[in-house]
């Protein structure tokens, strides 16, 4: 009897490592268990309360691996239920094996190892993995989601101390609420957590992006307001009213182009400062020149529909517009501007540059003469009918007049394109003549020159109109100071522009 008792204890968990197991209440319970073992009676749930006793009174060392903490208080009754049903099935075997296992202490493998509780879950990494085999037993079904279900028809209990059986027991882990989980669930939960974390990070990044965009928008609106008050935008529309849609789009494209130009300028500056080897610097230079080509291409496209817009320069700042030549810069002027910044130049380069400047001047002159001829033809046509009479009254004549005039100015597009062609050729030829570093400095000089011209436009627009307010005796310095402060405030406005 004593033997049996011990063995029952062993069966109960075979986890015992100490000999002190039960108090009286427990022993009562185990008495019943014994009976069940012997008689094969399924123990009904009327033993529930006793289970509770058992649970609470369970010795703390009811575990096969003493180092692992036990957290299985409320897993007991399924355990017991399970055991009971198992035992009812296997009582005969057990009774037989009980004797055999009497001598085993830490291993209490139920003979036949028919019952194996497969507890799938995370490994013993967290230290709560084992849960003792009590826990394993409670986790009868392979896919436990923490619910305490009765084990499947043939649950298997396996006391894992042997290496051969090790792989069959994967200790489960419990969540905070103590539910048992298997590996699949745990994986899923981990993935969920990961996904949630990523989602949070993404959200954070998005919010930050929104914030910066909001600030930028505020700044843009502020700048726009300032520009409006300075009359910059109003000046462009003038008497003609709205721009053509192609022109409006071109203006937008040009603004983008300027922004990109700013980037090219900084790249180039960085490249020069870093003393890049020529090959690397060359690619930056060539990119910049390609960027100019892009602008010429945009202009050529607009020339087909709205050559007037290009020639009148409504897409540039007032100062640029004022000194524009045929819809852009005058090539020979540009060469004059950049030459001082290209020192040191070889003699060969000096000769070539001079020759380039001369050729540009000749080409410009020829183009201008052609343009002038066009103007003469137009004048002649528009004034062909007597100007004193209202030609408009005579519709057919008027229409005829307009037709001829239209024909005359139809080559306007060609003039703009030839002018841009000239500009483009000049830039490319400069690239040919100069070394890489010289070309870099040349492009920077051009960029800076036009940036200053644009800045001048805004400074001019906001200059103090009433000099009397400044005070006569200190007029000059104050004006200069005022201009400087205005310039500085406008500087930021135009630096991106």
């Amino acid at each position: 009897m004593a033997n049996e008792r011990t063995l029952v204890c062993g069966v109960q968990g075979s986890f015992h490592t100490s000999t002190k197991f039960f108090d009286e209440a427990e022993s009562d319970y185990f008495g019943e268990l014994e009976e069940a073992l012997i008689h094969g009676d399924p123990i009904t749930s009327s033993h529930g309360p006793k289970k509770g006793i058992v649970e609470t009174a369970r010795p703390p060392t009811l575990e096969i691996f003493p180092s692992w903490p036990m957290r299985h208080q409320h897993h007991q009754h399924p355990t017991v239920e399970q055991r009971k049903s198992e035992q009812s099935v296997e009582s005969s075997e057990e009774s037989g094996s009980v004797k055999d296992t009497a001598n085993t202490t830490s291993t209490g493998v139920i003979a036949g190892a028919q019952s194996q509780v497969q507890c799938r879950g995370r490994g013993a990494t967290e230290g709560e993995a084992q849960k003792g085999l009590v826990v394993i037993m409670a986790n009868g079904a392979p896919q436990r989601t923490g619910a305490q279900q009765p084990p499947p028809s043939a649950p298997q209990i396996q006391y894992d101390n042997s290496h051969t059986e090790k792989k069959k027991i994967i200790a489960g882990s419990t969540r905070k609420d103590g539910k048992l989980l298997d590996a699949k669930t745990l994986r899923r939960l981990a993935q969920n957590r990961e996904a949630a974390r990523k989602s949070r990070l993404r959200k954070k990044a998005y919010v930050q992006q929104l914030e910066t965009s909001r600030i930028r928008l505020q700044q843009l609106e502020h700048d726009l307001q300032r520009a409006r008050t300075q009359g910059m935008l109003l000046a462009g529309c003038g008497a003609s009213g709205e721009m053509s849609s192609g022109a409006a789009m071109f203006n937008m494209d040009y603004t983008n182009w300027l922004e990109e130009e700013g980037r090219h300028v900084s790249d180039l500056r960085a490249g020069l400062d870093a003393h890049l080897i020529d090959n690397n610097l060359s690619s930056i230079v060539d990119d910049f020149i390609t960027h100019y080509d892009t602008l010429f291409h945009l202009k050529a496209r607009l020339a087909q529909t709205d050559a007037f817009h290009l020639l009148t320069g409504l897409w540039t700042s007032p100062a640029e517009r004022c000194f524009m030549w045929m819809g852009g810069f005058r090539p020979s002027d540009l060469i004059k501007i950049v030459t001082p910044h290209l020192d040191p130049l070889t003699e060969q380069q000096v000769i070539r540059l001079c020759s380039l400047q001369q050729s540009s001047q000749q080409a410009e002159e020829a183009l201008w003469q052609g343009f002038d001829q066009l103007h003469q033809f137009l004048s002649a046509t528009l004034s062909s009918e007597p100007l004193s009479t209202d030609v408009g009254a005579d519709v057919s004549n008027y229409a005829g007049l307009m037709d001829i005039a239209i024909e005359k100015i139809s080559s306007l597009e060609n003039f703009v394109r030839q002018a841009d062609h000239l500009r483009r050729q000049t830039l490319h030829q400069l690239r040919e003549i100069l070394t890489t570093r010289q070309a870099a400095r040349c492009l920077l000089a051009i960029g800076e020159y036009y940036r200053r011209l644009r800045a001048l436009s805004s400074v001019w627009a906001t200059r103090p109109r009433d000099r009397a307010l400044i005070g006569n005796e200190t007029a000059s310095p104050n004006t200069v100071t005022d201009l400087q402060t205005i310039q500085q405030s406008q500087y930021a406005h135009y630096s991106a522009f």
Binding site: Q362, A366, G370, Q418, L422, E432
Partner: protein, 124 residues
């Protein structure tokens, strides 16, 4: 049928005429009197000291055929055709140079003047 043949003959004749005209003079410009771009080319050449031989196709007989042949000759290189057709077209030393685009490019890259000198249109 006959008209097409006539056209073909006309074109062949025009081509021969062009060849003849071009080789007779160092610099030949095919132009239209009212074309402003032609004026550009003429002024450029004159400014360089060249005395080009100019054929105003609106005043020449068979001018249309000549224009047609010139279009064919220039079809290889992309030439921006103006309102007056493909003119101006420039021949230097009997060889086709191109339209105003080509003339400008050659002048900027410095190859026009040597060509002119080579053809004997410029001295010094």
């Amino acid at each position: 049928m006959r008209m097409v043949e006539d056209d073909r003959e006309g074109l062949i004749m025009a081509y021969e005429r062009i060849t003849r005209m071009a080789s007779n003079n160092a610099v030949v410009v095919f132009s239209v009197s009212t074309c402003c771009m032609c004026h550009v080319v003429k002024r450029l050449l004159l400014g360089l000291g060249v005395g080009p031989t100019v054929y105003e196709l609106d005043q020449e007989r068979g001018g249309r055929e000549i224009q047609a042949v010139l279009s064919q000759l220039l079809s290889a290189s992309p030439v921006m055709s103006g309102p007056h057709g493909v003119v101006p077209v420039v021949f230097i030393g009997g060889k086709l140079l191109g339209g105003v685009d080509k003339v400008m490019s050659c002048h900027i890259n410095g190859s026009l003047v040597p060509l002119l000198k080579q053809a004997g249109a410029l001295w010094l």
